[in-house]
Amino acid sequence: MQLKRRSFFKLAAVGAATAISTPRSALAWQSKAPADAFGCLMDISRCIGCRKCEQACNAVNELPLPVRPFDDLSVFDEKRRPDATKFTVVNRYHSGRVDDDKGLPVADFVKIQCMHCQDPACVSACITGAMSKKSNGAVHYDADKCIGCRYCMVACPFEIPAYEYHNPLTPKVMKCTLCETLLSEQNKPPACATICPTEAITFGKRSTLLKLAKKRLHDNPGRYVDHVYGEKEVGGTSWLYLSNVPFAKLGFLKLPLKPLPRLPETLQHSLFSYLWSPALLFTLLGGVMYRNHKQQTLQHPEQPGDVS
């Protein structure tokens, strides 16, 4: 590379000028969170660990039946994760809570599934637009656009999307759909919320659910931990949680309150905010290459053996 000090500085100056002249609005990160999203509020203090939600989810999504039936509660002996054959699982935790009357340890149950983040990292990571956040709140997966790169799986802070590794021909990314077809076609709540016998899952507009969660906190002093998980975590999620036990004891991650797509997207956007910025870059690089090539040709005149 024959790039001289002076030419390098010239180039650097052009680059700096480009960066400075880029309007601030293109740099500022904009949340695309839908204002009127639906969601679910999961009240852990109400969940009795019956696994009916898992069963209803399995049926409505036509997933394969598990080896151990849904009324087999021995599955709670180990912690499970959602995978390509189950979009939601309920796990049991023993936080040290003891029954006042009987003196026995009391179990708490936590249902996990895709949180349908308001500004989802999976959507931001997806390079083909196969993952998208709908205005109804659902984070939608479009198998036709998916190229199987699995960036969404890496990006998701909750480690939710799973991949059909067993399916060699048409593998898909699998995750909770928020039952959006039930919602859009039949105006029905998600199957897991409908089946739940104790209304541990309340379905509604996210804004209503947030108000409801705060009302429950206010009306039942001492019952809950004073926190609505998902209100602010990673910029907010469509699934919200109330708990009577500290969230950290129930396997909930402590996550940043800023949306995760913010940093990488800001970087990308400042680089590609205008079409001409890559064009300019390539023109400059082309110019450098041309000059180098010319200099090299001058220094090494063609060798006679090359001509045939």
């Binding site: 409908t194 016998p197 209304e199 509604g204 009302k215």
Partner: protein, 262 residues
């Protein structure tokens, strides 16, 4: 002597009441049989309970705001008691729940038994309508409107904090059964599974004998048969401490000499 007379009186009363109970239903069966050969016997009161379960009453909009203690005291002061309950037997089979899912048969709920055991109506009738207008005509008393007067469809957009009927049942029944150590706490303890129509399933010869019938049941219900072998119904050898007045007399149970022991 007096005791014997007393027993005789009781026995007579029992026979009489059974006759009274059976007679109307026998009459009903005869009329049905006249039109239809497939007679299905139902207990008296069952049909009425079924009809009651289907009723939908207008939703109570506002409830009276008062604490649970105040409410309990006020309810006691009204001198409402179990005698004021119009119906003892209920089927919990509301269209509000059926509209969303239909996995179980109706739950049979003995209101009288629950009222007598708790002795405090406010345990279940925990709130009342703010005014008297919205319930009249349905319930005996504004203080004790039925559950579905307030708890109807789940996730009602206008009443987001109100539980749907299904959750209202589960959230009050289950914890109470657990705390009191009384009553069922598992799903099948209250819910009958939906039983498929057996007419097509059962295959029997023209005039089957008893053993053929049992064998046909066992064709599908082998697990149930094995379970039954471990229950008192099979192993009962008497005497039973729970058989009033006969605790020392009955010597033959299924496990020994009782008939029909196949």
């Amino acid at each position: 002597m007096i005791q014997q007379l007393f027993r005789l009186k009781i026995a007579l009363l029992v026979v009489l009441s059974i006759m009274l109970m059976v007679q109307p239903s026998l009459a009903a069966i005869e009329t049905v049989a006249a039109q239809n050969d497939d007679v299905v016997w139902t207990a008296p009161g069952q049909e009425k309970a079924r009809q009651r379960a289907q009723q939908i009453i207008p939703m109570v909009d506002k409830v009276k705001e008062e604490g649970p203690i105040r409410r309990s005291q006020r309810l006691h002061a009204t001198e409402l008691s179990i005698k004021d309950a119009k119906n003892t037997y209920f089927l919990l089979d509301s269209p509000f729940i059926k509209a969303q899912e239909d996995h179980y048969g109706p739950v049979r709920f003995n209101h009288g038994q629950h009222a007598a055991a708790s002795g405090d109506c406010s345990i279940c009738h925990h709130l009342r309508p703010a005014d008297n207008s919205s319930y009249i005509g349905d319930s005996n008393h504004p203080e004790t409107v039925r559950c579905s007067a307030c708890h109807q469809q789940a996730f009602h957009p206008d009443y987001p904090e109100r539980l749907g009927l299904k959750a209202a049942y589960h959230q009050s029944c289950t914890p109470c059964h657990q705390q009191q150590n009384k009553g069922p706490v598992t799903c099948s303890g209250c819910h009958l599974n939906k039983v498929p129509e057996h007419k097509q399933l059962v295959k029997l010869p023209e005039k089957p004998d008893a053993l053929q019938v049992t064998a046909e049941c066992l064709r599908c219900h082998e697990d149930e048969a094995n379970d039954m072998l471990h229950t008192a119904h099979w192993q009962w050898r008497g005497p039973s401490g729970h058989t009033q007045d006969h605790s020392r007399e009955i010597r033959h149970g299924k496990g020994t000499t009782a008939l029909n022991n196949y």
